[in-house]
Structures are given as structure tokens and as C-alpha cells.
Symmetry: C2
Subunit: 129 residues, 2 copies
């Protein structure tokens, strides 16, 4: 598997995208509304930063994360050509999935999140494009 | 700039490297003792996970981080061919560096860390190989 993206919780995706474009020359690759969030992907050439900005009055996991922790790094995602096989290999190695089976993620991907208690404190996502 | 690595704070780099190798097929690329830590790079093909494991009785920033937060994602690093120019561009865009100038990092790289208060809560590192 290889690096796909780092998910970043933010309360202002537009401002952060503008800042990162100016500071690090990483342009917006894709933007959509998904699961109660404005989701903005910044193009790193070999992967993405995924800015996750809850819509007003959202009560999803990112809104809760922001209330508890403030903005910052939320998760890391690894890309795989076969998310079901990757999930099965992770489970065989002792990792606990949060999702029972792959589900639709942003940008039309299939994703599975893995429980940080089983991955050294890291919220990891497996993603199939 | 492109993705270089995600830094992960851990209290057992060997165990986490073994788990990630089994679960995600990401082998160890490089390992060294640096700045009071066992530092283990896992090869993602297009970048790395950098496992940061303080040596016993270490009092560095990662040891403090682990005491406060437990294990987990610590920082994200972007690669640049010219860390001084990248640092200057980030400063021009309003980002505050933690380091006054590039300094030696693990694996013989030159690095600068940027203050999370100026980057949307993300501890970012610029790294020149």
C-alpha cells in the first residue's frame, strides 16, 4: 500500500486551502460536499491533504473532533487497489476495523476506517480509488 | 512540494513496525537512533511513516507528547529540493517557523518545523533530502 492522504480537521477549509497554496504551492485538486462537510483535496503530487470542514450545525464526527481537540491532523489514509482484501489482511494481523465493510467515501472512493486502539493510536483509513 | 512522511509518536517502534508490516505490507526502510529516539521509517512507496520512539529516560519533545497525548500522529512532512527557499515562501505567506533556520533531521535530512498555530493546527515539517 502507499500513502493516499492526510485528513485535516478545520473550521475554515477555504482559508486553509488559500494559506497552503500560498505557503506550500499545493493547489486544490477536488472539492465537494460530503457527509455534512466541505471536503477539499489539496494536490501534493504524490497524494493529498484532505481538508474536512463541517457545514454549519453539523453534528458529525469531525464537528465533534473540532469541539474536543480544535483543528489539526485527524487521520492518515493508505491507498490500495482492493480495499476488501486490504481490510482482510489488516484484520488477520490483529487490526480492528471501525466499519463492518467498505463504504462510500469522499471523491467516490471506497473506504474503511480502522480503530486507533489497534493501530498504535493512529486513525487509519484504507481507500480504493 | 510533495508528501514526504507522517511522523507517529509511539512507545514501541519495533512492535508497531511489525504490526504495520503484517497489516499493511509496509516494510522498514531505515532505522537509526537520533536525538534521543529510535526512529524507524516505514516504506510506503511514495513516502514514509516515521515512527518516533523515545529512548528510556528521554525528556525530548516526543516523550512529552506521549505523556500528554499518548501514541498517535505527531506531524506531517513535505519534501522540497530547497528547504531554505521553501521556508522563505512559507514565511512570506504568514507561516511561523519554530526553527530559526534549517537544522539536521533524521536520516541526514535538513528540516524546519512550522508552528501549528500558523498552519491550521497541523505541525508541519519541511524536509530536504
Amino acid at each position: 500500500m502507499h500513502f493516499d492522504h492526510a485528513g485535516i480537521a478545520t473550521d475554515d477549509a477555504d482559508a486553509l486551502a488559500d494559506l497552503y497554496a500560498a505557503a506550500f504551492d499545493v493547489p486544490v485538486a477536488h472539492e465537494e460536499t460530503f457527509d455534512g462537510m466541505q471536503v477539499t483535496f489539496l494536490d501534493l503530487g504524490n497524494g493529498y491533504f484532505e481538508l474536512l470542514d463541517p457545514l454549519p450545525d453539523s453534528e458529525g464526527t469531525i464537528a465533534t473532533y473540532l469541539e474536543r481537540n480544535g483543528p489539526g491532523i485527524h487521520h492518515l489514509a493508505l491507498a490500495t487497489p482492493d480495499v476488501e482484501a486490504a481490510m482482510a489482511a489488516a484484520v488477520d494481523a490483529g487490526v480492528d476495523p471501525i466499519d463492518d465493510e467498505p463504504r462510500p467515501g469522499a471523491w467516490g472512493h471506497e473506504v474503511v476506517f480502522l480503530h486507533p486502539k489497534s493501530t498504535g493510536g493512529v486513525l487509519l483509513e484504507l481507500v480504493e480509488h
